[in-house]
């Protein structure tokens, strides 16, 4: 059976034009999708049933048993951490927040280790953003700063920016100019009109220099700024100003390098400065397909986008104190529920070690690095393949993903609802 207009649940692009062929409970072919999408749909390494650690080996268990044990662990814990949420749909995230409130837990999503700094900067100076559709139809200068879309968001360039013909740009890739800023020559830089190679950690200085040039203070620029020559900065600034509508996309190269959220703040201020001359927007390149959604869901329920602490009964948000990495490093929490993400692979070593010491439960369809740290893993349906739900694209557009076939796995929502019910019962509410 061929299903058209399938939404790809891999990266923040949420391409919604895939054609997927399904036979029974297997995906047999994926059209229009990139390599990453294809692997996501076709990959067949799911866990068969819930597993729990018994001594030095794993033993299979039933869903009822696994959920009951999870509820017990969470109820017993003094300071549980509910981490992840970026790889699941909005409905499940909503239950997660309520669960956290019930437990008085700390709830955090993966933006704590990716675009958390961006969110902090946006909270300070605002977000001159726009949808990807606007970029596609109008933008004639595209900047990729500290991101390599060809590897991380393969279809970003062909679907939304450089190559896609827009309403106002008929010959897109000939009329659009692409600037790539990175610390090394990436694949994306191969097709850039201008590649700016900066020294690691030099983003803030280069952004400030560009701001100065755009403001008309060319005279104060030294011969070279963080490895970028003055001439190239002038050229880049001229290119930026030549745009009728420009779009800046930034990735972890900007958020997770020295300077952190100050980098983003500076980038947003550069965008503001450019907006005095022409139209510019700036958007983060979100990684997980629904990480934007987790920020949205957290915000509309608790008021804060990530790192929300319910330990005091009310939502409390203080990045640096309530972010999961800091909590784990301080060895504060004594139980962890990981939903649809892989902190074992992405957290610092000290945090992963602490995760291994405390009872950790993972809810994820596949085994991954976190499996090796956890006590129980509960496999679930993959949203977008055998479960449905709502997700937010990297520009904040909600998109409903579809269920391609009815599988044998329960969805995240089902598992979490049962868990919620058990916890509620245990708390006597």
């Amino acid at each position: 059976m061929k299903i058209e207009d399938v939404v790809c649940p891999f990266c923040g692009c949420l391409c919604d034009d895939l054609v997927v062929e399904v036979e029974g409970t297997r995906v047999v072919s994926v059209e229009n999708g990139c390599t990453l999408a294809s692997e996501k749909f076709m990959g067949d390494h799911r866990l068969k049933s819930p597993i729990r650690r018994a001594g030095k080996r794993w033993e299979e268990t039933s869903y009822n048993e696994a959920i009951r044990e999870t509820a017990e662990i969470l109820c017993d814990a003094d300071r549980p951490l509910l981490y992840g949420w970026s790889g699941t749909h909005g409905e499940a995230q909503s239950i997660g927040i309520h669960l956290a409130e019930l437990l008085g837990a700390l709830v955090d999503n993966t933006s704590t280790v990716c675009h958390g700094p961006s969110i902090m900067a946006i909270q300070e100076v605002g977000h001159p953003g726009c949808t990807l559709g606007q970029v596609k139809n109008r933008a004639d200068v595209i900047v990729y700063w500290g991101t390599n879309p060809i590897d991380a968001h393969p279809r970003h360039m062909s679907r939304y920016t450089t190559f896609a013909d827009g309403f106002f740009l008929k010959e897109a890739f000939r009329d659009r100019k692409v600037i790539v800023v990175d610390v090394r020559k990436t694949e994306s830089a191969n097709i850039a009109d201008e590649f700016v190679k900066i020294q690691p950690g030099g983003d803030y200085a280069v952004l400030s220099a560009l701001r100065a040039i755009v403001m008309g203070k060319r005279g104060i620029i030294p011969l070279s700024v963080s490895g970028v020559s003055r001439e190239q900065l002038f050229r880049v600034a001229a290119l930026l100003l030549s745009a009728k509508f420009g779009a800046i996309f930034f990735g972890l190269g900007l958020t997770m390098s020295p300077g952190k959220y100050k980098n983003i703040r500076n980038a947003i201020e550069l965008t503001e400065e450019l907006n005095r001359h022409t139209k510019y927007t700036i958007s983060p390149m979100r990684g997980h397909w629904n990480v934007y959604g987790s920020n949205e869901v957290f915000t509309w329920i608790s008021g804060y986008p990530y790192a929300v602490d319910f330990a005091r009964g009310i939502a409390f948000y203080n990045p640096g104190e309530t972010t999961s990495v800091d909590v784990l490093r301080r060895k504060e929490c004594d139980a962890c529920l990981v939903v649809a993400s892989d902190p074992g692979a992405h957290f610092p070593k000290a945090c992963a070690e602490h995760l291994a010491q405390i009872p950790t439960i993972q809810i994820d369809p596949h085994t991954n690095a976190t499996t090796h740290l956890s006590r129980i893993q509960i496999p679930v349906a993959v949203t977008g393949i055998d479960a449905e739900g709502t997700a937010y694209r990297m520009d904040g557009v909600p998109i409903r993903t579809r269920m391609l076939f009815k599988g044998n796995y329960p969805s995240d929502t089902e598992i979490l609802e049962r868990l919620y019910a058990l916890v509620k019962e245990a708390k006597g509410l």
């Binding site: 059209e31 229009n32 060809i150 393969p154 190559f163 896609a164 013909d165 694949e187």
Partner: protein, 203 residues
């Protein structure tokens, strides 16, 4: 050798030298008609065959764009090396440069082509840049150029199973757009150009 001045006096008193010295004018600096300049339009209708882009050896020297009056090749000065291959390649004689068109007619010469597209699936990321940029794809399926949604199997290039696939190699015109816009250098168009003495009628 005894009188080293003598050869010079001989030189200066040569009749032709004197004639040149007194009467010759600076030659007008005309560009001869046989000089292969930048290709110019002849005014014939371009059918978007894209053979010019195929034959062009210089990066970014020629592209065919849609204008209000139909398709039209556009030469980029500063990239064009004036080799004249586009003139020879065009089946409709849209371009002209120097005496090339004329001598193709007199000498009865032409170029014949065949193409081969190879995709290195180890390098391909399935980003779809090639399929979206491909001008043949744009003609077949307008949706394709607006973000890479393929709705038909008649396309030349299509991304499926996460890799770029060549579906109809016979539709390729060899314009190299895909090759130029592949970030991973995964797609390669080889153009087998053959210079022949044309007996047969042009198709």
């Amino acid at each position: 050798m005894a009188f080293p001045i003598i050869p010079y006096i001989q030189e200066v008193t040569r009749l032709e030298w004197l004639r040149k010295f007194f009467f010759v004018k600076t030659a007008p600096l005309l560009t001869p008609p046989y000089f292969r300049g930048f290709p110019e339009l002849t005014g014939k209708t371009c059918t978007h065959a894209l053979f010019c882009m195929m034959a062009c050896p210089a990066p970014g020297a020629i592209d065919v764009i849609r204008t209000p009056g139909g398709w039209q090749p556009r030469i980029h000065m500063g990239h064009c090396i004036r080799c004249g291959l586009c003139v020879e390649a065009c089946p409709n004689g849209v371009l002209t440069s120097g005496r090339i068109l004329e001598s193709m007619f007199y000498d009865n010469t032409r170029l014949s082509f065949s193409f081969r597209i190879d995709v290195n699936t180890d390098l391909c990321m399935g980003c779809g840049n090639c399929a979206v940029a491909c001008p043949v794809n744009k003609l077949i399926d307008a949706q394709m150029s607006h973000g890479g949604r393929a709705s038909t199997d008649e396309l030349l290039l299509k991304v499926s199973e996460g890799k770029c696939h060549v579906l109809h190699v016979e539709k390729c015109t060899g314009c190299k757009t895909c090759e130029n816009h592949c970030p991973n250098e995964a797609i390669r168009v080889s153009r087998l150009l053959e210079a022949v003495h044309g007996q047969e009628e042009e198709v």
